[in-house]
Symmetry: C2
Subunit: 365 residues, 2 copies
């Protein structure tokens, strides 16, 4: 493509924006969306911002049958200065391309897509909620749209970005949640799609989630699919533990999603000169630490909830109450610093923030 | 629901039907489709046969993000008497409900849906191709349509059935194919979704399939995801081997799809009083049988290809040429008997056939 431009069609009847107290997660969407098409041999083309509207897709479109899709999730934050900013968006687009590779979806031009996302967010700047803990959730996703019933990579795709003003992901907020260790169902295994952000991983997780919710738990803790011994993730978040002063998280082993928040937490802990280690952690080892009184904290990390402390972990009939069910010091410091940087209230020593400004947006036809 | 009826809206401009030589797999669709909606608390409702048309779906619909979907595949056959018949359709709808359970999708009324499918096929009877080896492929699928960005089972779904007149699935037809044993990628693992017919399993398989195709293979043979030792499936089919006179197939272990053709093959072999065993089979064991000269046949089974003989199997740099690359006697007999029953040319001692007749269809509003 010689010149990268995004055509814009403004919506004629803007929706009413939700009140702060009406915000939940992922139910309300803004007035516009970004769409980019892929066809062979043209490649990605026809980037356009159009009024938010239903998709018109053939019932034989491959995404409905063979699940060839990827997605990402990031947020735009409103700062005390009235700026709007993104947190490490390039990491999400890098990961989208890694997911694309695993799912046989053509690579995107990360810088083009990031520019188009910024243009969309800038157009929708009045949709970024301003109350504490709220943000504008950005959901880029790619679906295979070729009308063909056959197991093969598609030749047509759509990349779509929709925006949703959101409140807290968990109604518990930063308060500790109860987690059940999952012994029957498996999220992913090495050689599968666990490292990719693709629908199948989430579809596969619903059953375990439904059963644990019935027993009063917020999420499950996934163990490895081979030996059912080693800790992988918690729900749709990465997981960290503080054991005897050391902070540990499962190493990226081929079945764990590499979270942007996980990566940021590791960098922050190193910056604070706290000991942090990526390694294989067995549930037995964690239980032993709990019995020895050295399991000091546990928390999940993810874009939606940022930091989610774990107050109770149930495993094979045993209940591990962690830090007396209270939010630990490390989890609290991480939450405050990360959200501080995200909302422009703290210094950003890592250059994680990208402002969304009018001048940075791209020519509009 | 008091009375189960299907509303019908006829299409105004029927498409031209393809010539036999134009038939491939899954590219052409008929004039009508069946749609049934699910909403809470109503349940499944508003069954209707309408002109084949694009779906209008919100971009936040859960199926695009979290892959909550299931599907089935079966065929309608044209007999020498001019009848149209289905092959064990109740098995597909039973399996759809097992898939629904795993994916947290509400159960369907199997007999209602089967009646509606028969009504649709009857309406489209002129679309059932009559040439040898051709059929009308029936694709029922369920997608989650609730507009919500959150990992949870949806509250709205659509069950859709589309029809496609098809030729042979593999261009090789009943001729033997070359298969590569997959050592890097994994299809499924116990505790995952391997037993369910859901998009994620197929999305996950694309990468291995793409790489093996570049090396001249038709499909991969999947090994278990835990030890990478034991044989699971071949591509999107179940797999059988004849070793020293005994026919063996991997037992259903929690990660293998229970194929309707697999089940029919086992029944047929027993009926013929041939020894058939479901058991765990290692690749090492298979290789040893090959070296001993006792690996007599290998073939895949599935609705699309029926029986697909394997002429060559490549594993860790070794090429196993099976039965001199020719179709074996058992594979040939199974293919001929199964297709004979399906096309109404052979007796059906198992009551596998269901005729599609006008009187069997349901009241039309």
């Amino acid at each position: 493509m010689e010149e990268w431009t995004v055509e814009v069609e403004h919506c004629k009847s803007p929706k009413e924006k939700p009140k702060t107290e009406e915000l939940e997660f992922g139910r309300i969407f803004t007035d516009h969306m970004l769409v980019i098409d892929y066809t062979e041999p043209v490649g990605w083309h026809d980037a356009r911002i159009i009024p938010y509207q239903p998709l018109t897709i053939d019932p034989s479109a491959m995404v409905f049958h063979y699940g060839q899709s990827v997605f990402e999730g990031l947020k735009a934050y409103y700062t005390p200065d009235g700026d709007i900013q993104l947190f490490r968006p390039e990491k999400n687009l890098e990961r989208m391309n890694r997911s694309n590779d695993r799912l046989c979806i053509p690579q995107i031009d990360e810088s083009h897509v990031l520019k188009a996302i910024k243009q969309l967010v800038h157009m929708e700047k009045d949709w970024v909620p301003t109350a504490e803990g709220t943000s504008l959730y950005i959901r880029p996703f790619i679906i295979s749209t070729e009308p063909f019933i056959g197991v093969a990579p598609a030749h047509h795709y759509k990349l779509i970005v929709i925006l949703s003003p959101v409140g807290a992901y968990y109604k518990e907020g930063i308060n500790p949640v109860k987690i059940a260790v999952e012994n029957t169902f498996v999220r992913a295994v090495k050689g599968g799609t666990g490292e990719a952000k693709t629908g199948g991983n989430y579809a596969s997780s619903l059953k375990a989630q439904e059963l644990c919710a019935k027993q009063g738990f917020t999420q499950v803790l996934w163990l490895d699919g081979v030996e059912k011994k080693y800790i992988e993730e918690v729900g749709s978040m990465n997981v960290f533990f503080k054991i005897d002063g050391e902070i540990v998280t499962p190493s990226l082993n081929g079945s764990i999603l590499e979270g942007v928040t996980r990566n940021s937490v590791i960098q922050l802990l190193k910056h604070w000169q706290l000991p942090v280690t990526e390694k294989r952690i067995s549930m037995e080892e964690l239980y032993q630490a709990h019995m020895d009184g050295t399991l000091e904290e546990a928390f999940g990390t993810g874009t939606a909830a940022v930091i989610s402390p774990i107050g109770q972990l149930s495993w094979e009939g045993k209940d591990l109450h962690i830090n007396n069910g209270k939010t630990g010091k490390v989890a609290k410091a991480l939450y405050e610093t990360l959200t501080g940087i995200q909302y422009g209230k703290e210094k950003d020593p890592f250059n994680w923030i990208e402002k969304v400004t009018e001048t940075e947006t791209i020519p509009v036809k």
